[in-house]
Symmetry: C2
C-alpha cells in the first residue's frame, strides 16, 4: 500500500483525553477515531490489526473443533426473561424498544441465545460434544468507559459455548479451550498467565482468566516463577500439570494461598484478555436444554463459556509491546510486515529504486506499507516508528550511491546497511522463521 | 468437515412462516435461525456462504483502491442532527437512550459518520480521491420484515463512500464502482442488470441499481436484450457504452422511455442487491466538509455512495439458482465445494474408502463436507441435494466392488461412474477452470 493513497491520520501530540499508553498510541497512529464515549470507528490501520487478531483466534477455534456461528447483536428480551437476566443484568445491558414497542437488547453476551438454539436442534448424546463460537460486537453500557478500546462500550469479542453430556466431558472441553488459549496467545506474540478465577457458587477450579503481562496492566498478578521459565514449551505441557502452578490476580490472591512461599512468587502487572468458565447446568436448567443419554434418559446439558476480548487485545498488545517512540507489533498481528521508506520522494533515483522494491515485494505477496509521501525525512521516520511495523527498509541517496539500503528491525532497533538483495533475503528468512 | 461433528439442522417440511423460496431453503438447509421478526442467527453453513460473499466483495473493493474501515453500529444522535436526518429519517431508524439518557441510534447507513471522519482529517486535494468502505451490520426497523434475510431488520451491508474534488472526478469514482460491481457479481456467479434509478433532486444519470435476475424477483425489469447476449464480456466493455443500454425497473420504466421499441425489450423479474449513487455536495454542505483545491480555495467535497446487500445476496443467489430439490450454489460462494457421501456408514469397506478419500481431499486443501452419519441413504442424498454443494462424490458398496465412485454435478444433474483417480482428477480440472 502506498501511504500517499492510504489513510493514516497520525498525530504529533499526545491527545489529552487518552490516559493510558495504548490509547495514546492508537489515537496517535491513526488507528481509531472516537465517535462517542467508549464507541470507536476503526480506521484502516487499526482494522487490519483487529482482523489479524480475529483470524488467528478463528483458526485456533476451528482447529479445536468449535463451529462458527453468528448471532444477531439485537435480541428479544423474552429470551433473557427465561434466564431471569433481562431484569437482573443491571444498567450495563442496553435495553431498546422497537417501533412496535417490543423489548430488545444489544447483546452483552450470548448464553441465552446459544442455549435456545441448542435445545431446539440437539437432542441426543450422539451429537455431543458441541462447541459453538462467534466473533461479534457486543455492547455493555459501562458507566465510565475509558482507556480507549480497553474498556469500550461497543467491543469485539470471541465467545464460545460448550455443550456436554456430563461433568467429565465438560472438563475435557474446558481443558481443550485452556490449551487452545495458550496456543492462540502464543501466536499473537504475547505472554499470558492463566490465573485461577472465581467460579462462583459452582466452586471447583474450572475458571481461569488469561492475563497479558504489561507494566501498565490493570491488575497485579502473583504467580509461580515457573511461568517465567516455561517459555515456548508452555503449551506442550500436560494440562493437569499446568493447572497446578499457582497464579492469581490481586482480587483473588491472599498471602499464604500459594503452595510455595510468598516471597518466591513472581509479582507483575497484567491485563485480562480471556476468560474460560465451566458453569455446569446453570442455563440448561432454567432454559430446559436437555439431551438423551445412552440409557435413554433426559439429562441437562453441561455447559461452559470461553471468551476472548478481541478489540481489547489490540490495546493490550500495545501496552505489552512498545517503546518511547511508538508501537512494536509482533509479526503475526502487524498491520503490514515491512515499512518501505523513500527518504527523498521526488528524487528520480530514490523514486525509481523505491518503486522497484515496492513492486518486487508486493509481487512476492509481502505486506508492504510504502511511504512515498512528499514529506520531511524526520516526519517519515517518526511516523514509521510510531506505527511500529516489524521491519523498515530505508532508501536514501547515500545508500543508492553505494548500492545499499538500510534494513532496520523495529523491535531490536538494530540497523544494517545491506545490498538490496541481502536485505530482501534477510527478510524472507525471518519470514520463514516466524511462520 | 465431518457431518457427524458439524451442525446442519435440516428440515424435511417447508416451514410455514416462509413465503418465498430462498427463505424456505435457508431454513430447510439449516443455514439460519430466526430470533425475532427480521432478526436471524447465522448457523455454520449459512455463515460460510455469507463469509464467502463478503470476501469476494472485499477483494474487489480493495482492488478498486477503496480503504476498509469499520464504523460502530451505535452512533450518537448529535452527528445525525447535523444533517437533519435524526428527525427526518422516520421510524425505520432505531433510536436508543443509553444509561445517561443520551440519544444513540443503530446505524441504518453511514454518510454522516464517514463525512465527519473525512472533514476532520482530510484537507487537501492532494489526498484525493478517497474511497472508504465497510462491511458491517446495519439495522432498519422495517414495519413488516419478511422474506427471511431478503428484508430483514438487522442486515449485513457493504457501504462505500467516495470523496472527490469536483464533479468530473466523482464521475470517475462512480464509473470505477460501476465496473467493480459488474466484476463482483460475475465472481459471485450471478447475472445482474444495472438499471437506471432515481437520483433524486440532483438529476443526471448517476444512480444505478444492480438487480439479480430471478423468477421470484421482487420487481420487473425492462431492458435492452443486448444484456442477455453480453455474457462474460460484460465487464470488459467501455463504461460509457455500457451505460447507454436501456434498463429500468417497473417503478421507473414508462412505455416509450427506451431508445428501442417497447416490444423489443426483454422483460424479467429481478431483485436489487446493489445501488450506486452520486449525491454531489449534499452531505459535505450541511456538514461543512471542505477541501483546499490547487488554487488554494476551500471547496465542498463531491460524494457518492455505493452499497451491496451482503446478507440479502445469500437469499437472492438462492432465488436465482435452485431447483425443486434445493439450492444450487455457484462454486465461488458454495459453503463447501464437494459433498462426500458414504452411502453405507458402518460398512467396513465403505468407511475405509470414504475416510481415505476425505483425508486425501482435505490434505489437498479441498473444501469437503463428508456425510459420515449413520443415516438412511435417502436422507443423505436428499440432504446433499438440499444444501446444494457443486459436486457430489458418492461412495457405495456396488461401486467399491467395481473400483468406481459416482461423481455428480449438482448443477447439470449429470452423474458419472468413474475410477476414484479419474473422479479426483475431474474435480481438480473443474477447480482450475473455476479459479
Amino acid at each position: 500500500m502506498r501511504l500517499s493513497r492510504y489513510f493514516i491520520p497520525t498525530l504529533k501530540e499526545n491527545p489529552q483525553e487518552a490516559q493510558i499508553l495504548s490509547h495514546r498510541f492508537m489515537l496517535r497512529a491513526g488507528m481509531i477515531h472516537q465517535e462517542a464515549q467508549g464507541i470507536y470507528s476503526w480506521l484502516p490501520l487499526g482494522l487490519r490489526v483487529l482482523k489479524k487478531i480475529e483470524n488467528i483466534i478463528r483458526e485456533e477455534q476451528n482447529k479445536a473443533g468449535a463451529l462458527e456461528v453468528l448471532m444477531p447483536t439485537l435480541q428479544p428480551a423474552d429470551l433473557w426473561r427465561e434466564s431471569g437476566r433481562f431484569d437482573a443484568y443491571g444498567k450495563e445491558m442496553l435495553r431498546i424498544k422497537d417501533r412496535h414497542e417490543r423489548d430488545l437488547l444489544y447483546s452483552p453476551t450470548n448464553e441465552e441465545m446459544i442455549t435456545a438454539i441448542f435445545r431446539k436442534f440437539v437432542r441426543s448424546y450422539r451429537d455431543l460434544p458441541k462447541m459453538f463460537y462467534q466473533i461479534n460486537w457486543k455492547f455493555r453500557d459501562e458507566i465510565r468507559p475509558r482507556f480507549g478500546v480497553m474498556r469500550g462500550r461497543e467491543f469485539l469479542m470471541k465467545d464460545n459455548y460448550s455443550f456436554d453430556l456430563n461433568y467429565e466431558d465438560a472438563v475435557n472441553a474446558y481443558d481443550l479451550m485452556y490449551k487452545t488459549y495458550l496456543k492462540t496467545f502464543k501466536r499473537l506474540g504475547v505472554k499470558v498467565i492463566p490465573t485461577q478465577a472465581d467460579s462462583g457458587p459452582i466452586g471447583g477450579d474450572l475458571s481461569h482468566e488469561f492475563c497479558i503481562l504489561a507494566e501498565t496492566g490493570e491488575t497485579t498478578l502473583y504467580y509461580d516463577p515457573i511461568y517465567d521459565t516455561l517459555g515456548s514449551d508452555f503449551d506442550h505441557k500436560d494440562i493437569s500439570e499446568l493447572k497446578k502452578y499457582y497464579a492469581a490476580t490481586d482480587e483473588k490472591h491472599k498471602p499464604g494461598d500459594a503452595p510455595i512461599p510468598e516471597e518466591q512468587l513472581s509479582v507483575a502487572r497484567g491485563t485480562e484478555v480471556g476468560h474460560i468458565f465451566y458453569f455446569g447446568t446453570k442455563y440448561s436448567e432454567v432454559m430446559n436444554a436437555k439431551i438423551v443419554n445412552p440409557k435413554g434418559e433426559e439429562v441437562l446439558a453441561h455447559m461452559g463459556s470461553y471468551g476472548i476480548g478481541v478489540s481489547r487485545l489490540v490495546g493490550a498488545i500495545i501496552d505489552a509491546s512498545h517503546d518511547d517512540k511508538g508501537i512494536i507489533w509482533p509479526e503475526s498481528v502487524a498491520p503490514y510486515r515491512i515499512g518501505l521508506i523513500n527518504l527523498r520522494s521526488g528524487d528520480a533515483n530514490c523514486d525509481k529504486v523505491s518503486n522497484d522494491i515496492y513492486t518486487q515485494l508486493t509481487n512476492n505477496n509481502e505486506e508492504v506499507l510504502y511511504d512515498d509521501r512528499d514529506q520531511r525525512l524526520g516526519v517519515k521516520l517518526a511516523d514509521m516508528e510510531l506505527i511500529g511495523l516489524p521491519w523498515q527498509l530505508i532508501i536514501g541517496p547515500k545508500g543508492i550511491a553505494q548500492n545499499t539500503v538500510e534494513l532496520k528491525c523495529r523491535k531490536t532497533n538494530e540497523s544494517q546497511e545491506l545490498s538490496l538483495e541481502s536485505a530482501l533475503n534477510h527478510m524472507t528468512k525471518n519470514n520463514a522463521r516466524a511462520a
